[in-house]
Subunit: 219 residues, 2 copies
DNA sequence: ACCTGAACACCGTTCAAGT
DNA sequence: ACCTGAACACCGTTCAAGT
């Protein structure tokens, strides 16, 4: 018996949730809004999904799967690590509501998938097996943490002020700080004003790769 | 005119909020609960604090300030960087509700303070001035991201199951994954089972420090 | 098995009114 | 200037009742 194509299913609910989240953010995802879009009552959703947390986790997982399957299998381990990392970075940038889910850690939501994709490059990089877990986890924590923070920054600008205006305002504030108490922050205001988020993110990957190469020579 | 010591003030509100957050988590912090503890009405709080978001940011900032002032000023830059990082890590571990705030990024809540504390060590490490901002920001993103994910993990165990039980259950699940699709994750299950969170966190700092040393020799 | 939709027990926030 | 507390417009979630 083929199911009516417009009947409810977990997948349809998750897909609709992603659309609502992209359009209105996490606070905009409501069981009432969602059930209206799906032409049902709020209670119907609970037959397929346990609660809002599970729905958010499922939505995150779906986006992570999509981001990781785009990954190309060519190039050096370094290049592929960068590609995996940037794929996740861009996914979080496009779906900022994922940030809160992903900072819930590597063993939730899309966690294991990310560990697998990153870990394969760690292995290819020549890290000795006994340090696979730590190394992969450190990279995953950096990737997810940086992506989450970046998405939050982008969102905090709001639709009214541009990224440039926000950065400029903040840089100006940093530059006006007391030179004694803020001797470092004060001097990097201008670098913040002109930085590129993606370049900054990749710089972190490159530091990690350099560190891994230094800690595990030979190869 | 000295104010009555039991009158409301922003500081008293923030202090009470931290107590409630520590005891009941973010979802336990309610304007009703908070006003009851402060012996007022919910509306009174709004005279001192704009909204719940501002209250959470203020609470986070207060904890960050406390965590950073404990920092000792002795030792090598590497040691001091580790000390700053661990101070923040432990603070987030004790106050897990901070995680969500901190993954909102380095330029919110306690952000600049953290940039300052970390940046000073970056400077002392001999990183050339033109790369101060990127390097410090990468470290801050790792520190906050890793701390947030760790706190979320610790919390996800719940009061019923112990950390060990949770790790063991998850490791067993990883080890049972399909060897083709999960060739990496599968093999690190046992390392996950026996890892130490703090050591794992410090390993990330050490990778970054090694990377910085490799990228900027001389000194 | 799956869906309906009213109802419950909450929330954050506002605001007229008080002192 | 600061506080009160009722009221508003929501939420997530449940559950008897339907098909």
């Amino acid at each position: 018996m083929a199911r009516r194509s417009d009947s409810l299913s977990r997948d349809r609910i998750v897909a609709a949730a992603i659309e609502v989240l992209d359009a209105a953010g996490e606070s905009g995802l409501t069981f009432r809004v969602l059930s209206e879009r799906l032409a049902t009552g709020p209670g119907a959703i609970y037959w397929h999904v346990a609660n809002k947390g599970e729905l958010l986790a499922a939505a995150t997982d779906a986006v992570v799967v999509a981001a990781l399957t785009e990954e190309p299998a060519s190039g050096s381990p370094q290049d592929r690590l960068r590609a995996v990392a940037l794929g996740l970075f861009d996914a979080v940038d496009e779906h900022p509501w994922m940030a809160a889910q992903l900072s819930a850690g590597a063993w939730q939501a899309g966690g294991p998938r990310i560990v697998e994709a990153v870990g394969r490059q760690v292995r290819a990089l020549g890290v000795p097996p006994r340090d696979w877990f730590v190394t992969a986890t450190v990279l995953v924590q950096y990737i997810l943490g940086a992506a989450a923070q970046n998405a939050a920054n982008a969102r905090s600008a709001g639709p009214d002020t541009s990224r440039e205006e926000m950065l400029d305002a903040m840089a100006t504030r940093w530059e006006a700080l007391d030179p004694q108490e803020w001797s470092f922050t004060r001097t990097v205001g201008d670098q913040m004003r002109h930085h590129d988020d993606r370049d900054q993110f990749v710089a972190g990957i490159d530091i990690a790769v350099a560190g891994i190469a230094a800690l595990y020579p030979a190869s």
